[in-house]
Amino acid sequence: MPNRHRTTPLLSWALAASFALCATAIGWVFWATPIDDNLGIVQKIFYIHVGAAFAMLLCMVAAAGAAVVDLMAPNEPVDAFGRAFTEVGLVFALIVLTSGPLWARKSWGAWWTWEPRLTLTLLAAFIAVAVIAVRGFAAGPRGGRKIGNALIVLAAPTAYLIHIAVQKWGGTHPQVIQGGGIANWQMRLAFWGCVAAILAVAFAMVALRGRVLRLQTTVADLQLERQAVQLRRARQQAQALSQTALAASLNTAPPA
């Protein structure tokens, strides 16, 4: 019997290809691109940092979309992928929040500045942690699912306001890519290669995680199905037993 729950070859290949692409891009960054004149070797973080930020943003937006859809009309696959987007989004937010300060220390002279994008990323990471925690601690999966979705729906417009607020509040915003974009063609190629590779990895991670979550649901459903069969059989046996007992008591009844 073919096992339809086996990881599809397509997904495995996509995952392998994305990691290969990533390795190539990182190799390219370290061996084939020139060292930046102003920032030196630290500038190389930029290739990973920006790609991770793109991946985080896409994941968070997708998670918000999935939350709205699932809240309007509950849908298992949408919920599974919504969760996967939230979790992968958090992973990339952590990458952004780690790589950012390393680079900021060198280029702006401070580990952290309350720059709009930094602040928004930090708060988005906190919200993602809150959503994941609420889903984990709610009594039963039903309640946690609704509450987590409600929080994401609440967070989406708030994120926009946070962005405006910090932008107005922060004052100077260090500009990363000046007007002309990246001048050096090797840097440009490496940059877009990295973005593509990291997005591919993010996509593969979401696909895998979503699949794992869906499989968990399937396994739980199958276990419940098996339990249902056992429960119905136990009921039939109990019924048969009581009928036998009734018949026995009638047979042994003394003649009137």
């Binding site: 906190f126 809150a130 609420v134 946690g144 609704k146 509450i147 409600a150 607020a165």
Partner: protein, 223 residues
């Protein structure tokens, strides 16, 4: 029975309970004063605390006090299972949400009325352009009450909610805090409407989103 009438009935009930037990509100006021004192200790320089700390102390203390109040917001309803009675009202769960948001707004306004002059005295602030700060406080407390009533309701049935409520509420309330602190600081510097306009509009936008989204989410997600 309209939603407004049911909301009013539930709100009157909450006020009656608060008036009778009196414990929560009293402790909230005392906590807020204590919290402000602790902050003042943290900012003391040569025995004096500067006016520049007023916005931060005021808004953060209010947020902490609100968190404490929100954790007790639904306690009377949960105590003997009256929660389900209010949720299953003829108007659905929405009147429960509105009554709780009103109660929280009332509590935090009372706390604010005591706390604000106290902070001003503790930190030796001048009373200038008070009306702008008052407007910002009103908008800020309204937004916090709406978001808070929703989050506390969502988390009411979850264990570890004391830990989860700040985790959920603080990132979401960040725009209110940023804007509120800014308006208060500008007001103390003697700024006028043109400078504060955009911050107050931001708070208004936040409240508008809260008024639309929070009751809808409460009815959908609270069980």
């Amino acid at each position: 029975m309209s939603t407004a009438q049911l909301t009013w009935t539930l709100f009157r009930k909450d006020v009656a309970i608060a008036a009778r037990s009196r414990e929560v509100l009293g402790f909230l006021v005392i906590f807020s004063l204590l919290c402000a004192v602790v902050f003042a200790f943290g900012f003391l320089r040569e025995g004096r605390a500067a006016q520049e700390h007023v916005p931060g102390v005021l808004w953060v203390t209010l947020l902490f006090t609100n968190t404490l109040g929100l954790l007790r917001l639904y306690s009377a309803d949960e105590e003997a299972g009256a929660w389900t009675l209010a949720l299953r009202s003829i108007g659905g769960p929405t009147p429960l949400f509105w009554s709780k948001a009103m109660l929280q707004l009332g509590f935090s306004t009372i706390v604010c009325v005591v706390l604000w002059p106290a902070v001003a005295i503790f930190l030796d602030a001048r009373a200038i352009a008070v009306h702008w700060t008052a407007l910002a406080l009103l908008l800020g407390l309204l937004g916090q009450a709406l978001f808070g009533a929703l989050c506390a309701g969502l988390l009411a049935q979850i264990r570890l909610r004391e830990v989860l409520l700040p985790l959920v509420l603080y990132p979401l309330a960040a725009p209110l805090l940023l804007a509120g602190v800014k308006v208060t600081a500008l007001a103390l510097d003697g700024a006028q409407w043109p400078e504060m306009q955009s911050w107050l509009l931001l708070m208004l936008a936040f409240d508008a989103i809260a008024v639309v989204l929070c009751p809808w989410l409460f009815a959908r997600a609270v069980t």
